[in-house]
Symmetry: C2
Subunit: 499 residues, 2 copies
Amino acid sequence: MARDAGANQLFEIAFEQPSKGSRRSADSVYEQLRAAILDGRLVAGSKLPAERQSALFFGVSRNTVARAYTRLATEGLVQSRQGSGTYVAPKKKRSLRERAPSRQALDARLNAQWLRPELAQSLNFWHDSQPAKASKETGFLDFRPALVDSRLFPFEIFRRVSAKQLRRMELKPPVFKSPQGNRGHYPLREAIATHIGISRAVVCEPDDVLVTAGAQQAFDILARVLATPGVTTVAIEDPGYPPMRAAFLAAGAKVVPIPVDAEGLIVDALPASVQVVCVCPSHQFPLGVSMSAQRRSALLKAARKHGAVIIEDDYDGEFRYDGTPLQALRSNATVDDVFYVGTFSKCMLPALRLGFVVAPQWAMSALTLAKNCLDWHCPTLTQMTVARFIADGYLTQHVRKLRDVYRKRRDLIEEILHSDFADELSPMPSHYGMHVAALSNTSKRLKRASLRLLESNVHLHSFERYFFGEPTSEGLVFGYGAVDLKGIEQGLKALRRAL
Amino acid sequence: MARDAGANQLFEIAFEQPSKGSRRSADSVYEQLRAAILDGRLVAGSKLPAERQSALFFGVSRNTVARAYTRLATEGLVQSRQGSGTYVAPKKKRSLRERAPSRQALDARLNAQWLRPELAQSLNFWHDSQPAKASKETGFLDFRPALVDSRLFPFEIFRRVSAKQLRRMELKPPVFKSPQGNRGHYPLREAIATHIGISRAVVCEPDDVLVTAGAQQAFDILARVLATPGVTTVAIEDPGYPPMRAAFLAAGAKVVPIPVDAEGLIVDALPASVQVVCVCPSHQFPLGVSMSAQRRSALLKAARKHGAVIIEDDYDGEFRYDGTPLQALRSNATVDDVFYVGTFSKCMLPALRLGFVVAPQWAMSALTLAKNCLDWHCPTLTQMTVARFIADGYLTQHVRKLRDVYRKRRDLIEEILHSDFADELSPMPSHYGMHVAALSNTSKRLKRASLRLLESNVHLHSFERYFFGEPTSEGLVFGYGAVDLKGIEQGLKALRRAL
């Protein structure tokens, strides 16, 4: 009987068996125990394991368990018996809980938008329900795209620049930033305008730039300002970058997936009702293709015809290896139609949480208002430091270094794919960025191979999770931001075995 | 005739005459010129001032003006005549503009929410349309509440802690944060739980804490998650903190202002339909009063009766000077009904952009999803540094120091108000924080006094801007976060003259 089962066994039965590491990060111990008691997995009268055992089981500190037990006791869910231990309380004593509102009643207090499963799916798409078994110590090979190896970052320089900026801050008298000042530290907006002028031929003024907390906040602000809930039709690439789609779903837009082929977004598939088109023209996510010149001009024409605006996501456009350079969509001629989104997550560090939008002037005051309403402005020290880092030439230097490193990785992946996987996989042309995608030549489902690789501590995404609708193609995405040449060889050997 | 007027005179006529410093920060030179040309303030054929003169006029660099002129020329709005200068183009030549959509058409591309004047007013309430004449150099006395004097901050310590954390970051392998990990750096959530446990007697677990980009993002996330547009009724204090109201307006909530008296929010005025109540119980903004024990219990009772949740804004609760300490609303007994919002903007620096919500577990996954969707997480280095800063005891030390400094300032303000202004002003009891409010004893309008003070370089807010509806009382708000004892004496002398 469950109530007599040994302590650990009781827990093994009551809780699913995730790997040790994930227990703590998922829900709190308190929350897990409470749920198990309330839904009867831990029956009344059962003796809970001693705190030490519990701590081992959940992979948390004994202190955490002690606090969880105390809190459960306060709520009448468990009872502590002197010298004997802690027991699940009889049901009739759970007075506090009995009066507590049901999950349904609680959910009714929330905006239902945030309970939609597709929103959670889009935001959690990086992660697998079953995490890799490798601990942080033994390490795993992580081919997930958009992952950046911070170990290549010039921390020593950054530290020096940051310390100098902190000294400057110290001397400044207290002032309120103006609403426009909240658009971003002016020298940073100047540095951004110069940087993308050189690296991406995007000509703009500091006053066209809004500094955001990464590209994700740029998407969120654009979604909130451009989309009216239930009204605005937004076209997104499918497959595409799920968190961008999430921002528009959360804003209540009517999101329409548009297929992508080797030339990029299929413009003819845009509905006439479209008001916003989201697109990654330089390096499609996840296919890696660049949008052809014909498609670009067709897209601009279609947008003008429908009176739609374009959001150009240029997340890794700094890393161009070969191929004919194509202008950004946001060129001088399209100033009023295109919102250009960039980020420092790829060319510097995601941990900085800095990105930006280059926006048409007609939308700037609404965007500024939204930024003020959301969080006023990005942290000042980070902005000052990044501004100085760029102005002093360190960003250019770092990008040049990364470009060499990344090009070699990409070349190696393509080489191995051509030599060892020619029958099964066809790499798609990828002239930019930090990942290569490969289409399956057979109609073989690759999700299972991806799951098998996880057991060998290799993270390698198959296509299906990038689709909003039904997957229309099979393939694999090889991100090389965080895997070095040796890791690439190892990982692809493991893939060979898994296929 | 305007077209023959001297260059500077032309601009003086075409543009309003803000103080030099504010021109650049307001709109871009390009935007101002474009607007002036399009609406006819700068007539066709007028000669623009030379770049150097223009730069002086707008208080920007010559380079900025040169780029603005080039851009206007590209758009056909001005013409450059070799050796003669730059002229406003004849109307018929403005082909590009003529085809451009009207302001109305452009506004139709935006979510109308962001065009509501009350939203902009609520967010810009710190600022006066006519800024103080003082330049940064000559300085002014700034009594606006919520302003923090960064010169009291221990920058040297922060720099050391920050540098150490940067070294730790350098050694970390690249990983994706889990969605839960995005709730905030775990050691920071632990430090917050400990800090508010001690300073505010709020008992919570790290897993009850969501780290946000300041209190403003906490309000925005709560507004988006708790309010369904057009449906949810949200009660806010009136007078109150306008940017908090803005977050709920932007989320489409039905915002209902509730009056406040010397005991805090008037609970009886809550409508039966209320679903969210926003309140500052420890130190009302801007009146400075603490909510009485009777009102607190009435509020909790009313919330339970209506099935409403409470958002408790405790922005400066760390600074308590006297009076009976009252528990935070978010005590152990109200875990499931109260969202407790705190910030590091007052007790550390607003430039950090760090705050937090202590939330009930039933809402935590929706809030976490929203945080992920909005910007994933707050900048890692800032979070690590603040976590260490708190854990090493520096925050406690800094708060203790500030408390002494602030108490003296508050005492001096109250003393002068009692001795020199007894006929006109009655200071309200204020046991916490960084500002004191004083009610007018006469029915005299104080807005004019506030405006007159601005001319003497003193920023001192009168009440009316804190009201959502019609002001129901007259008074002044004395923020002392950024004015030292000498400044207080000077400022109040200036007030004496102005009344």
